[in-house]
């Protein structure tokens, strides 16, 4: 699924910026919308998205599939997502390699998977089921994590590989999440990148973490940090120019701040590209 309408450095669409975007039509190659904000039956969010879609290509990013849960898949939720992706002709739909529901209770958060063969089989079966309901190939994102399970039997990247190979799905590589998990768990981020098959990566995410002193948190409330830019350059060397998205979810700043982050990402893309060509 390499949709050529999605190229360059896009921005995460946030309601705070609807008015700015519609008024100024800024030069942004594409927007990524949070699918869960558009699952209502109607109203202004869908109206605004429709207006913005007229001028920009779109990808959808979801947080609620709970692909890693042992609870049954929420088929109703998936059908709503399918209708949304069809209505807005999104280039692709992504969700996370995580779980959120157990015994009917939900943690509206991205909880980490235990890295076991049993869990890898389970989640890859579920991705396949979800792909069948959705009628499209899914793009799966690696999450940040703040703990490890006692029964972990492989590295995070070995787990990710096993899942995507079995499910034959695509990858959204969140560079910030790799860095956050690497620091929290004390592993080297470069071997992670080396393990990821180039052809499966369709998108990369960049965001700012929060350092609480003993843990890095994936809060998406700051500019991208220098070590994440460095890791992004390493990722560009391995994967080439890939559609890249700036995410910002808390303390959302003026639109120009996001554009500035995108310009930095573009500069890194060009520099790496030229260095490789030389």
């Amino acid at each position: 699924m390499s949709d050529h309408s999605i190229q360059g450095v896009g921005l995460g669409l946030r309601s705070q910026h609807y008015a700015h975007i519609l008024e100024h039509q800024p030069d942004v190659p594409w927007f990524e919308a949070l699918a869960d904000n558009y699952l209502g039956d109607g109203g202004l969010p869908l109206y605004h998205l429709e207006q913005i879609r007229k001028d920009y290509p779109l990808t959808f990013h979801a947080v609620g599939m709970s692909l890693g849960s042992s609870d049954p898949l929420d088929v109703d939720y998936l059908r709503k997502l399918k209708a949304l992706t069809q209505r807005f002709e999104s280039a692709w739909l992504s969700d996370h390699l995580s779980w959120s529901r157990s015994n009917g209770q939900v943690a509206n958060d991205l909880l980490p998977m235990p890295y076991t063969t049993e869990a890898a089989q389970h989640v890859s079966d579920r991705i396949q089921q979800a792909q069948e309901v959705l009628g499209q190939r899914l793009v799966i994102e690696n999450v940040s994590s703040y703990l490890s399970y006692s029964m972990d039997a492989m590295t995070e990247w070995a787990f990710l590989m096993e899942v995507v190979e079995r499910a034959d799905c695509l990858i959204l590589l969140d560079i910030n999440n790799i860095y956050v998990s690497a620091m929290n768990h004390g592993f080297e981020p470069l071997p992670y990148l080396e393990a990821i098959p180039v052809e499966r990566v369709v998108e990369m995410h960049l965001a700012g973490y929060e350092d609480t002193g003993d843990l890095l948190f994936d809060t998406h409330g700051q500019a991208v940090h220098p070590p994440v830019w460095a890791l992004y350059r390493a990722a560009l060397q391995r994967f080439g120019k890939r559609p890249t998205l700036i995410e910002w979810d808390t303390d959302i700043p003026a639109f120009e701040v996001l554009q500035h982050e995108a310009q930095i990402a573009e500069r890194h893309q060009q520099e790496v590209h030229h260095a490789q060509a030389a």
Binding site: D36, N37, L39, G40, D41, G42, G43, L44, P45, L46, Y47, G64, M65, S66, S69, S70, D71, D74, Y77, W99, S100, R101, S102, N103, G104, Q105, V106, A107, N108, D109, L111, P114, T116, E118, A119, H122, Y146, L147, S148, Y149, S150, M151, D152, D214, L215, F217
Partner: protein, 261 residues
Amino acid sequence: MLKLHEIQSQFMQGLYAPHMVNAGDFIQARASHSATQSLQAYRQSLIGHLTQALSEIYPVCLRLLGEIFFDKLSLRYIKDHPSSSLNLHDYGLHFADFMHDFPPLVEFPYLPDVARLEWYWHRAFHAQDEEDLQIQALSALKAGDMPFLHFKLPASAHLLASTFPVQQIWAANQPDSPTHSVDLDQGGGSLLIWRHGYDMRIDSLSQEQWLFLSAIEAGESFSSVCERLPQQHPQCNPVQLAPECVAQGFINGFYLNGETS
């Protein structure tokens, strides 16, 4: 070795009722963090997300109570009402009832109705888009249809009756409204919270409109309303109220149904 289902059951329980699980059974301790502390980091994150969701749906309650009290109230609510929907927009349905039963809030008896108004506003904001009903559409009805005629309210509409001036309290606590006090003794009234096109609306209803629309909302047929209401409330004239409510947009559809009366 714990299976996936077992790990997730314990993890989830550890998020909502941390004293019920032994985190060390499934989470690795680290040099800087015990297993319990690691689980606690996720619990804090979850509470943050759910509190944020409540504060977005209930900004007026937040402003009236202040952040510290609101956060504590949210924490108690989260404990009693774990999230059950993957979509955060569904969270907070029982907040008004919870406030009503929360002893420290007995001094603020109007708060649950303010919360109801905010919940209805939230639902109306995301409700289905609908057209107005053109009154001429009713002329297509035949005489034989009349016993089966039912009207309907907009999908976005919610009726709210309160003994407190909740609309005034709500209006006085909008982000751009200057702070001024609301006289609680002015009494309450009946409201319709709904969306007209993309316009969010809170309409104050007359007693007759309230009685009429409540009957419609309950699924009572127009002929039954016409017979019953004037008997119970002589000031009510449904034949006059119907076109009036259609013109206001409070009624935006009708259907024929012989089963419900």
